[in-house]
């Protein structure tokens, strides 16, 4: 399939616009020849946000609050990545134990709520009912009708994450808990006990969700093993000892064969190893590993990369689940694109375990909230957001105003991978066939595996209007398929 920017003569264009059950707005275009063979498949990001520009000239302490407006699903990630960057600006090379643990708790709360939202609300309808099942029930309402207990658990898991965020950040969405150098609140013992009482159920339910994904793999092994699957480099943060760490760590990248491409790279040095390519047809850039170049250096981030990149998960049940995942089907599940769902549930379990552990830590109720030191002009904050590695990079002037900002968000890292995934699906499921809504949903299933946050700001839940138009080479509409 070609990757050229302009449709070629004789090809017809099919657009899936907007994509549904993903966060943010995007569209997919397919160019088909007369035989119905897909000659080009692309994921387009159709919104332009401009945060990197309008952050310029604003005071640095305002940025962690402002920049989290990029997203309503994972604002905590942006809030914390920016705060981590400005920790360096205010010279806080080491946070107080209370600040560090409050932030971690906030972050793992977000991981729990975001993963629960994605799996139960957005992805499970495809997995439970089938990719081309009746579109009318392929949504969370349909899941609730057939699997009420599963839907209830999904909602309660998400609620626990949201409550953790509320108590650590002040609000469930767009709070202000983290500030440069630390946090502005601690957690009372009563609050810790209230949240802690909810954790055992969450751990059990997350464990059962892993079992559900495994059973889906077992029931549909050939499909799940191969659907939208292709070899990909993977990149994530890991702790210095190789453990999974979603809040902080060093950058590690591995090849599809497991060879180490990067390891122990300090976050502040990311730009020596990662470059971004601009292509004329998308607002989203294409990052790649500098050493390998844009053709071979693209990589995948997110749960699947993290679970397969770390040496171990530092919580017992999640680590056991990781080992089971890696061993399943001779390791093929851990290479499959639909393995994202399995890995995501392992992380959800890990998040629940970490939340339970942290809530027992008296440091959360400590009163030393802020640290500081010699002021610097530059800060890089990198964090593992629910969707993958998130990089915030700022330069601050002597007058305390931001002069430069570079954000590489998780979904951007996955840009090339998502495009490859839809090409793979188009080749296998669409080539030469009559287009139906169910067939086109296969493409969305592939994209949803990555849990993209397409604009990192707007969200689509449930069935969204879908309009497909078949155009001839002159742009004339030759056919329409519509879902209202």
């Amino acid at each position: 399939m070609t990757e050229s920017a302009l449709p070629e003569g004789g090809l017809r264009r099919v657009a899936i616009d907007p994509l549904s059950r993903v966060e943010g707005h995007g569209k997919v275009t397919l160019l088909l020849d007369e035989a119905g063979i897909v000659r080009q498949a692309r994921l387009h990001i159709v919104e332009f946000r401009g945060f990197e520009k309008f952050i310029q000239g604003r005071p640095y302490w305002e940025v962690p609050v402002m920049v989290q407006r990029l997203c309503g699903i994972c604002p905590v990630s942006h809030h914390l990545a920016a705060s981590k960057a400005f920790d360096q600006v205010v010279g806080a090379t080491r946070l107080t134990p209370t600040a560090e643990k409050m932030r971690r708790l906030m972050h793992y709360g977000q991981m729990l709520q975001s993963h629960a939202l994605h799996f139960f609300h957005l992805a499970s309808p495809d997995l439970l009912f089938g990719f081309d099942s009746d579109a009318g029930r392929r949504n969370i309402v349909g899941v609730a009708a057939v699997h009420p207990e599963l839907a209830r658990r999904g909602i309660l898991l998400r609620k626990l994450g949201q409550e953790v965020i509320r108590m650590t950040a002040g609000k469930r969405i767009h709070g202000t808990g983290a500030v440069p150098g630390g946090v502005n609140r601690n957690l009372s013992r009563a609050d810790r006990a209230e949240l802690g009482a909810l954790v055992p159920d969450a751990i059990d339910w997350a464990g059962e969700a892993i079992g559900l994904v495994r059973s889906l793999f077992e029931a549909n092994l050939p499909l799940y093993r191969e659907f939208a699957t292709f070899p990909a480099n993977r990149l994530s943060l890991v702790r210095a000892d190789g453990a999974m760490d979603l809040y902080d760590g060093l950058i590690r990248a591995r090849s599809p064969q497991g060879e180490t491409l990067l390891d122990d790279v300090e976050c502040g040095e990311y730009w020596n190893y990662i470059l971004e390519e601009v292509r004329p047809w998308s607002y989203m850039k294409f990052p790649y590993l500098k050493a390998l170049g844009p053709e071979r250096g693209w990589y995948r981030v997110g749960p699947l990369s993290r679970v397969t990149n770390c040496d171990f998960i530092p919580s017992p049940r999640a680590e056991a689940a990781r080992r089971e995942f890696l061993a399943f089907d001779d390791g093929r599940a851990a290479r499959a694109t639909l393995g994202f769902h399995w890995a995501r549930m392992i992380e959800m379990l890990h998040a629940a375990e970490v939340i339970g552990e942290l809530l027992e830590d008296d440091d959360l109720s400590g009163t030393e909230l802020l640290a500081g030191g010699p002021r610097t002009a530059r800060g890089v904050g990198v964090i593992e957001a629910p969707r993958g590695t998130l990089i915030h990079h700022y330069r601050v002037g002597e007058d305390d105003m931001v002069v430069r900002c570079n954000l590489i968000v998780s979904t951007t890292h996955n840009n090339e991978s998502m495009n490859l995934a839809i090409r793979e699906v188009a080749r296998r499921f669409i080539d030469g066939r009559t287009l139906t809504e169910g067939l086109l949903n296969h493409i969305e299933v592939a994209i949803r595996a990555f849990d993209p946050c397409l604009s990192c700001a707007t969200h689509a839940l449930g069935q969204m209007p879908l309009a497909l138009e078949l155009l001839d080479a002159d742009g004339s509409v030759v056919g329409r398929l519509r879902r209202d």
């Binding site: 609050v65 709070g175 007058d399």
Partner: protein, 236 residues
């Protein structure tokens, strides 16, 4: 009489001062009990003897009949607040003054739920030249409280308003028009008294959590009554 009930007053008090001292709230923004009345925001407008006047500058007199809590006046005040929001760039979600901002609190008290007017989206450059304070002119409501505080308390005459009508704007007393080149200090009353997020201390923006701020606790109407000076022997 205020809204049908008698209100005691002392010679020299304005209608607004007498009302607040008697635990009767009239909305206001540019009035501050420690400074001479200014009468610019017009939020304290009430019907005095059938005429609409600013109560912060109208002397209290025996026999005055004042109507303040009427649906019409509430509409007028809501419109005035909407105009202030539309004239500047007041982006509450990321403004560090949120929760401590009188404009926001008045909007909440008066039920401002929409802009009501087309935003003017002014483009006023920030002044971050001072080491300890910064000014976001986009949030200035031209109340002149900083002007009065700098003149009357700080004795520095750092601030003034220049221009007329829509071009009216805050200036500082330096040839460069940069705050860092004035005698302003972060401890000046002129900074403490800013009711909105225009003149702010640096580096402490979100140190106080959301939910713990002044107007998170009690509405502006209750806070204003707490702050109102009262004659000896009368408590709130």
């Amino acid at each position: 009489m205020l809204d049908g009930a008698p209100v005691p007053f002392e010679p020299g008090q304005t209608v607004l001062q007498a009302a607040l001292a008697a635990d009767r709230y009239i909305p206001h923004l540019c009035y501050h009990p420690e400074f001479r009345p200014h009468g610019s925001c017009k939020l304290c407008t009430a019907s005095v003897g059938g005429r609409l006047v600013a109560t912060c500058t109208t002397p209290a007199e025996a026999g005055l009949v004042v109507d303040s809590e009427t649906p019409q006046l509430r509409d007028v005040r809501r419109t005035l607040v909407q105009m202030l929001f539309a004239e500047g760039n007041h982006f509450c979600p990321s403004c560090e003054k949120s929760g401590n901002c009188q404009l926001q609190a008045q909007g909440s008290d008066l039920g401002v739920t929409t802009a009501g007017f087309r935003h003017l989206y002014p483009d006023r450059p920030i002044d971050a030249s001072h080491p300890d304070a910064w000014i976001d002119f986009n949030r200035c409501v031209l109340c002149e409280l900083c002007v009065r505080a700098s003149d009357e308390v700080d004795g520095k005459h750092v601030f003034a308003l220049a221009g007329r009508g829509l071009t009216k704007h805050l200036i500082v007393n330096a040839p460069s028009n940069r705050l860092g080149d004035t005698t302003f200090a972060a401890s000046d009353e002129a900074m403490q008294v800013c009711p909105v997020g225009a003149i702010l201390p640096k580096r402490v923006g979100f140190a106080v959590p959301i939910g713990s701020r002044r107007y998170d606790q009690r509405p502006v109407s209750a806070q204003a009554l707490d702050d109102a000076p009262r004659p000896a022997g009368r408590s709130p």
